[in-house]
Amino acid sequence: MELKRVQKVEAPHLRVWEALNDIEILKASIPGCESLERIDDDTLHAAVKIKIGPIAAKFKGVIKFSDLNPPNSYMLAFEGQGGAAGFAKGNARVDLTPEGPNATALSYETSAQVGGKIAQLGSRLIDSAAMKTATEFFENFSRALVKEPVEESGSQPDATQPGISESMASVPVQTPPPSSNRPLLIGIGVVVIAALVWYAFA
């Protein structure tokens, strides 16, 4: 699965780079992230549970960073496996380019490979699953950056009137407000977890 996207983030360049290094923001932005720890300067350990409808995939993996060029660009390799179910493997290249004082273009190019039962039986769903996870991450991430702290309106849409409603109600997604802002050199490898992450669960 190859994915090439540019996401406009409503925040200054440095702010985005810092946020991308804020382990709490990242942990909150990744759909299904259960744990995220630093092991050393360029290694992260993540546990993420990704759900595609009923199919859930739990992944524990290691992320290695390289070609660091703060605050502009970044390379990453990722590998995770477990059990009879399979594995996920991937890499990514990420670039930040400022677009004016208050906006930054975050472009990333990632390729992912998933193996095991889910790749053999649900191949139809894998690519769109990875894309959905990536887009979801960015919505959470940019929402977390734009308003601080962010109060999210109740996620339950109130009962709309019966009858043919033309409006496309916005999709309700739970987003707890970001808690801390400590700059750590984590890099946004986690984006890649979101983009490629899952494999058949153990």
């Binding site: 590998e79 496996q81 477990g82 059990g83 009879a84 179910a85 399979g86 594995f87 493997k89 490979q113 998933v114 193996g115 095991g116 039962k117 790749a119 053999q120 039986l121 191949s123 139809r124 058949a200 153990a202």
Partner: protein, 810 residues
């Protein structure tokens, strides 16, 4: 050897004896066999990686699942099972041995790394998911194109460049003759990878009997070969203590004509635990691990004269044999098959090939219905169509100008293969006349586009090598495929006839057809004959059922044994009736005096003598018993032939192919049962339609097989095959002069002809707009992209076609 044929049941549309119990749901397939109470069920842990080193396997969690008795890995089997090595002696052939369970490296997704033994199947399936295997990924090579490219990763260190076998041939002075060719064309044909996908996945059950002996039930087409190979590979298993029994088999198609690791493992574990061991495969495992087929590249350069007559052909053939060569046929079966059989019914004078068996990190690829012939005839018929297009001669006419003519037969082709008899010319002419071919050409002189559909008509003119005996297999280097088949015929004390044959059917109606043959040659009605197959304890040794052989080899053995038995009956009757044996005719269980039919003696009376029952006594010159065992090894391959003509209409936008008309004329020598022959052709046609339009095993570039279910590996349905009103099958019977009974095989003709003809039809429909159809499968998406590309590049496709007509007019 003259045969006293006193009846003519062979040739009749005898209804099948098998139908009664199958229709009632009483047929017992492998998983239906009663399991002894303490049976252990197996489930396998499959590698999720295409190429990786096994670092560790933790079975502790799996062992805690209630009902799990043991979890074994590669190390456990090193002392139980020898590595599988197909017995192939071919120059340059490099063995790629297969261990029962992977030991330190896995080489394709689905390779087995551990096996769980549990009291219930459900518990076994629970446990395999708890086995934790740690891998270290290695670079994988997946596609044929990648495997033969510079610097590609290698599957086996000792197989440099992934070339496990290299074959070559050149007729004398080929280079000069090929260079001298008047007209020349080059083309590359690509055939995708398919799976046989029988409706019944595989399975086996090993049951300990009287301590040391084992009765081994397995869904196979080659019981005797499996028995010998198990005895050779499973340490401590003595062949005489092993009985292989074949239950009903739910379709084989060649995929079950192989030795598989699970068969070795089941017998080994049965010996080790002294408990019945049962394994039933699920569909995902079928698609991941049962031997695949095809996945070929044909690079061809042909030269021909102004009349379209082939003067020379040069072929470079690459076949993807996967990570391990299958056994007993090995990785060369499709490689040599494609290279040697591509000549087909044509008089090709000068031919040279280089063929390569290429290893990749994928499942083994080998024998499935047609074995390379569907792919190589798609290529050869593609060459014929392109010669016709280049010279603007009618494609059928080009074929007529190239085929071996009746007067030339028996014909030995450029490779030394003998074509004993055949009706190539007659079938082509019949096809032209009765298939609506000429009417189509009249209806579509120029543009093929009508009502938003491109119309085309395709030709599949092919021969099928059938009934291969020992010489045929040795030429291909195969030592473990004996080539002979055996039959024991016994007339029982009450005059009924038992026939034991070394074949193993998977739905071909052997219980009916062999009864017809035996009945004719012994002189009883088929209803008095019972045929037994698939039990190494009762049937004589033999090769088994695959590659359209049973009618010839099994039939030949039955004829020889029947002749022996009927001669003895004639002698006993002659003694009883005081006449010469030659004056006795056997019919309906009676021995009559030919010159005075009112005088006769019933078989039963003679049997009393043969079995020392009752008061009579055998003539002194005779011995007790009324049976004979004979083995038959056809001297040479018998060559059947057929022509398929298919008319298609292709939607210009959604690229879907509708079969408007389907005509087949088939010649498989003396027909034993026309109803069963037609059934084999129908089945082959459907598989051909699947192979061309929708079936493909898809590996991604990392070696993940991404369509391991029937949701994504599409099989043709009742709506995809030609319906009753559009399908016509004609028969021509040109008996073989080489095989006993004049039989030729038919099992694979249907698929070979339909793959060639359907590809040709789609090519014919789209070549006018400049689209080059040279690969299968041809999904609607691919066809639509060919049409889009052609429409964009050719400014006005109709103009180019008109221009062509002009040049042809000179």
């Amino acid at each position: 050897m003259t045969t006293h044929q006193s009846n003519d049941f062979v040739g009749q549309r005898f209804p099948r004896r098998e139908d009664q119990y199958l229709l009632r749901g009483e047929g017992l397939y492998l998983d239906d066999l009663a399991e002894p109470h303490n049976t252990l069920h197996l489930a396998f842990v499959l590698s999720p990686h295409a190429h990786a080193r096994i670092l560790s396997i933790d079975v502790s969690e799996a062992l805690e699942v209630p009902g799990v008795v043991a979890v074994l890995t590669g190390e456990d089997f090193v002392s139980l099972i020898k590595p599988i090595r197909p017995n192939i002696e071919m120059p340059t052939y490099l063995y790629t041995d297969r261990l029962a369970l992977a030991l330190d490296v896995v080489r394709f997704v689905g390779e087995q790394v551990a096996v769980v033994l549990a009291e219930s199947k459900y518990a076994a399936h629970d446990a395999i998911e708890l086995v934790q295997v740690e891998y270290e990924l290695m670079p994988a090579v997946v596609s044929l194109e990648q495997a033969i490219s510079e610097g590609s990763p290698v599957v086996h260190e000792h197989v440099a460049g992934n070339i496990a076998f290299r074959g070559e041939f050149a007729s004398d002075d080929f280079a000069t003759k090929h260079a001298a060719g008047k007209y020349r064309l080059r083309e590359r044909f690509r055939h995708g990878r398919v799976s046989g996908s029988a409706m019944e996945p595989r399975g086996c059950m090993a049951v300990p009997i009287r301590g040391e002996e084992i009765t081994f039930y397995t869904s196979t087409q080659i019981p005797h070969i499996v028995r010998t190979e198990i005895a050779k590979h499973v340490i401590g298993c003595s062949e005489s203590a092993l009985r292989v029994v074949v239950p009903e088999v739910g379709g084989g198609f060649g995929v079950k004509a192989q030795l598989y690791t699970e068969e070795l493992i089941s017998v080994a574990l049965c010996l080790k635990y002294r408990r019945p061991i049962k394994w039933v495969q699920d569909r995902r495992e079928d698609l991941l691990t049962n031997t695949h087929a095809r996945d070929h590249i044909y690079e061809m350069e042909a030269t021909f004269d102004e009349r379209g007559v082939l003067t020379s052909l040069e072929l470079e053939l690459y076949t993807n044999i996967g990570a391990y060569s299958s056994s007993p046929f090995g990785g060369t079966i499709e490689t040599t098959g494609g290279a040697r059989q591509i000549v087909g019914p044509y008089k090709l004078p000068n031919y040279a090939y280089r063929c390569y068996a290429v290893t990749t990190n994928t499942c083994a690829s080998g024998v499935y219905r047609g074995v390379a012939q569907p792919a190589c005839f798609m290529a050869m018929e593609g060459i014929m169509d392109r010669i016709a297009r280049q010279l603007n001669i009618d494609p059928l006419e080009v074929r007529l100008r190239n085929i071996v003519l009746p007067g030339d037969m028996p014909w030995v082709n450029v490779l030394g293969v003998r074509y004993d008899t055949g009706s190539y010319q007659k079938c082509l002419e019949l096809a032209r006349e009765r298939s609506g071919y000429e009417d189509f050409r009249r209806r579509f002189p120029g543009s093929r586009l009508k009502d938003g559909k491109y119309h085309g008509i395709g030709i599949g003119n092919m021969v099928e090598l059938t009934g291969t005996g020992a010489p045929g297999w040795r030429v291909r280097g195969l030592q473990a495929v004996s080539g002979i088949d055996g039959a024991t015929i016994r007339v029982e004390p009450t005059g009924k006839v038992s026939v034991f044959v070394s074949q193993a059917n998977a739905g071909q109606g052997h219980f009916t057809t062999f009864a017809q043959i035996a009945a004719d040659h012994i002189g009883v009605r088929p209803e008095a004959v019972t045929v037994y197959e698939g039990d190494t304890a009762s049937t004589p040794f033999g090769t088994g059922t695959f590659a359209s052989r049973s009618a010839i080899t099994g039939g030949g053995a039955v004829i020889q044994a029947a002749e022996k038995v009927s001669n003895k009956i004639r002698r006993l009757a002659a003694h009883e009736l005081q006449v010469e044996p030659n004056d006795i005719v056997l019919q309906d269980g009676r021995a009559r005096v030919a010159s005075d039919p009112s005088r006769f003696v019933d078989f039963e009376k003679l049997c009393l003598l043969a079995y020392s029952l009752g008061k009579g006594a055998l003539p002194p010159t005779e011995v007790y018993g009324l049976e004979a065992t004979e083995y038959y090894d056809p001297p040479v391959v018998t060559v059947a032939n057929a022509v398929h003509i298919i008319e298609v209409a292709i939607d210009a936008i959604d690229g879907r192919v509708a079969i408007e008309n389907y005509y087949v004329v088939h010649d498989c020598g003396k027909v034993i049962n026309p109803m069963i022959v037609d059934g084999q052709i129908h089945g082959g046609i459907a598989q051909g339609v699947g192979e061309v339009l929708m079936e493909e095993i898809v590996y991604d570039e990392h070696g993940q097989l991404i369509n391991a279910s029937l949701l994504d590996y599409l099989l043709p349905t009742a709506l995809d095959v030609p319906d009753l009103s559009t399908l016509t099958i004609d028969h021509v019977e040109t008996p073989s002069i080489d095989s006993l009974g004049g039989f030729k095989g038919v099992g694979e003709g249907g698929i070979i002809g339909s793959v060639a003809a359907l590809t040709s039809a789609i090519y014919d429909a789209l070549e006018g707009i400049g689209a080059n159809v040279n690969s299968v499968p041809l999904r609607p998406s691919h066809i639509a992209s060919l049409i889009r590309a052609a429409r964009q590049s050719a400014p006005d496709p109709e103009a180019t076609r008109a221009k062509q007509e002009l040049t042809a007019a000179h």
